[in-house]
């Protein structure tokens, strides 16, 4: 097991190098002009001045030199400086915004897991009934409805029209204590972010359970006279949970994308909003930095999923020992 973890972690820098190289190449072959992005719109900046700006930021150095310097910096954890956000170091920017996103994603993930499990089990238990149909239809709806559309309507309905929940932000701006994350502000974006994932997971749990319920060992348990509820929870569910848990690791990647849209709608000061602003301002160093961090997160998530899989599946555990 330890060997597996170490092997995977050893590959991580190589993966990062590959992704970094690909993004660097893309940046080079694209016609994107960083000086334009820096000077902003409608500025009477002379060509000579633009050349000076390019030189000041190091945009005009030859390619191999720039690449080498960039990779070298990356290895030390220096992702360069944001061109737009006050020239601040990209790594620091990302670190300062990560907390808000972690709270959001953490809450959403919890809802996805709990909701998926609960409703998946219930739908399987009551399969064929109206309740099952209702759950399934709502799930199909949630997988097809764009999350940002739902978010928009939810913001409008609950915050603006009904006024039950705050209209965006992560905490009360007037509060004396340092700005942070506030449960009342967290509810709506968290729920909206979890909807698509929750729908997939519910369907997955339900379908896997139904498959498992057809297997021999379950039939055997029934034949022994064990009640349906016990059969479901003690014999079927554990097997269904194994692949379920591994999906968690991969679902993380989905949630990252979801935060970009949700944080924009709700004005949540996390990494998603940072990505959106970076895109609008065409701040390439920042976008690239966030992409690389996302890459790390996803690889770690997959690793976690694989480890959990091996921990939980007794057959694999047997094979390993």
């Amino acid at each position: 097991m330890l060997k597996l973890i170490l092997r995977r972690l050893a590959v991580l820098p190589l993966i990062l190098l590959a992704v970094a190289t690909v993004t660097f190449v893309l940046t080079e072959i694209s016609p994107f002009d960083p000086v334009e992005a820096y000077v902003g719109a409608e500025n009477n900046v002379s060509p000579q001045r633009k050349a000076e700006i390019a030189h000041a930021w190091g945009f005009d150095q030859p390619l191999p030199e720039r690449f080498g310097r960039w990779i070298g910096n990356l290895a030390q954890g220096d992702m360069g400086n944001s061109v737009i956000a006050g020239g601040q170091p990209v790594a620091a920017e990302i670190a300062s915004r990560a907390g808000a996103s972690i709270a959001l994603v953490g809450g959403a993930l919890a809802l996805v897991l709990v909701g998926g499990l609960v409703f998946g089990v219930l739908a399987a238990a009551f399969r064929g009934t109206f309740f099952d149909w209702l759950v399934r239809t709502m799930c199909y709806f949630n997988t097809a409805a764009p999350s940002f559309w739902v978010g928009l309507l939810a913001l409008y309905l609950f915050s603006i029209e009904l006024g039950w929940l705050p209209a965006g932000g992560s905490s009360d701006p007037r509060a004396i204590e340092a700005a942070g994350v506030d449960f009342e502000h967290l509810i709506l974006p968290m729920v909206v972010l979890s909807l698509t994932g929750y729908a997939w997971f519910t369907l997955f749990v339900r379908n896997t359970l139904l498959e498992v319920l057809r297997e021999d060992h379950v039939q055997f348990a029934r034949a022994q006279g064990i009640g349906e509820v016990a059969v479901l929870l003690r014999y079927a569910l554990p097997n269904a949970l194994i692949p379920f848990v591994t999906l968690v690791g991969t679902h993380l990647a989905e949630l990252i994308g979801g935060t970009i849209l949700i944080e924009k709608i709700f004005g949540w000061p996390g990494l998603g909003l940072l990505t959106f602003n970076a895109a609008v301002n065409e701040d390439i160093p920042l976008i690239v930095g966030i992409t690389l961090c996302g890459c790390v997160l996803v690889v770690l998530g997959n690793l976690l999923a694989d480890v959990l899989y091996r921990v939980m599946d007794p057959r694999v555990r047997e094979a390993l020992t």
């Binding site: 993966i15 590959a18 992704v19 993004t23 893309l26 940046t27 694209s30 016609p31 994107f32 002009d33 199909y140 709806f141 997988t143 097809a144 409805a145 764009p146 940002f148 559309w149 739902v150 928009l152 309507l153 409008y156 603006i160 997939w200 997955f204 999906l247 991969t250 679902h251 990647a253 989905e254 990252i256 994308g257 970009i260 849209l261 924009k264 709608i265 990505t275 959106f276 895109a279 609008v280 065409e282 390439i284 976008i287 690239v288 966030i290 992409t291 996302g294 890459c295 996803v298 690889v299 997959n302």
Partner: protein, 271 residues
């Protein structure tokens, strides 16, 4: 299932005939009828410069479907290429290519796509950049499918028979591999389209897609966000419904097709 097929058929026909049913003029501004609610004259109301919303949603559907289909095609093309290289060459090439595919598969589509859109928008325009972004983020599952199919086909006796009979690589590809791949790739293509619709509207919603005055479902939604509080809830509701309906019907049809023909790819294409 039949309902889904029927609705989809209707949508596609309506979208294709959009220019005939209700010709669109992006500049058909009517400043006297700004933000009117749904009525007999305007079934879905008017938008913030007085244009008829129903017309725009119809055309938006056409634009979004077109871009989604083209983007899915791009994904299929690139994925097939990569999968074919891995599947036919085997060995080390296969390992390296599939590792690369794994890494690409684990990237978040929207995040990486945003980088691509920002970088290539000046050259390709909004629509082109979005198509590129969707194509370059959705190819991995296609590559896996193509590779898997190719690997299994290569073992089959009729292939060895062909090779024994002196068939060239090209003949093999054309007469044996391609027909075998078609159903799989076709299904994957159809399953990618709802994703592509979602992504196109997401990019446009963020302001990174098509130019704002053109009718695309994401653009209209973006306009809708601004008009929400001024009372224009219909601008936010209808385009979203259109995306929902399109995605649901295509998805349902594809699911049905898959259940019937190829239960094997459940894990590939599910999440």
């Amino acid at each position: 299932m039949r309902v889904a097929a029927g609705v989809l058929g209707l949508l596609v026909v309506a979208a294709l005939l959009a220019n005939v049913i209700a010709p669109l003029d992006d500049t058909a501004v009517d400043l006297d009828r700004v933000l009117n609610g749904p009525s007999a004259a305007h079934l879905m109301g008017t938008d913030e410069v007085g244009r008829d919303l129903a017309t725009r949603v119809l055309h938006g559907m056409r634009v979004s479907l077109t871009i989604a289909v083209l983007a899915a095609l791009a994904a299929v093309a690139f994925g097939t290429l990569v999968g074919a290289v891995a599947g036919t060459m085997g060995g080390r090439v296969d390992t390296v290519v599939m590792r690369f595919t794994d890494v690409a598969a684990s990237q978040n589509h929207l995040l990486f796509g945003i980088l691509l859109v920002v970088l290539f928008r000046p050259a390709l325009g909004g629509a082109g950049a979005v198509m590129l972004a969707i194509g370059l983020t959705h190819w991995p599952s296609l590559a896996r499918i193509v590779r898997g199919e190719l690997m299994s086909v290569r073992e089959r006796p009729f292939i060895s028979a062909s090779v024994g009979g002196g068939a060239s690589r090209w003949r093999l590809a054309r007469r044996h591999y391609l027909p075998h791949l078609m159903p799989a790739v076709g299904l994957a293509f159809v399953l990618t389209v709802p994703h592509a619709i979602f992504h196109e509207s997401a990019y446009s919603f963020l302001g990174l897609g098509l130019p704002a005055h053109q009718a695309s479902l994401g653009n209209i939604l973006n306009d809708g966000q601004r008009s929400l509080l001024a009372g224009g809830w219909w601008i936010a509701l209808f385009p979203g419904l259109a995306i929902l309906v399109a995605a649901m019907t295509i998805g349902t049809l594809a699911e049905y097709w898959r259940e019937h023909l190829h239960p094997r790819w459940r894990s590939e294409l599910e999440l």
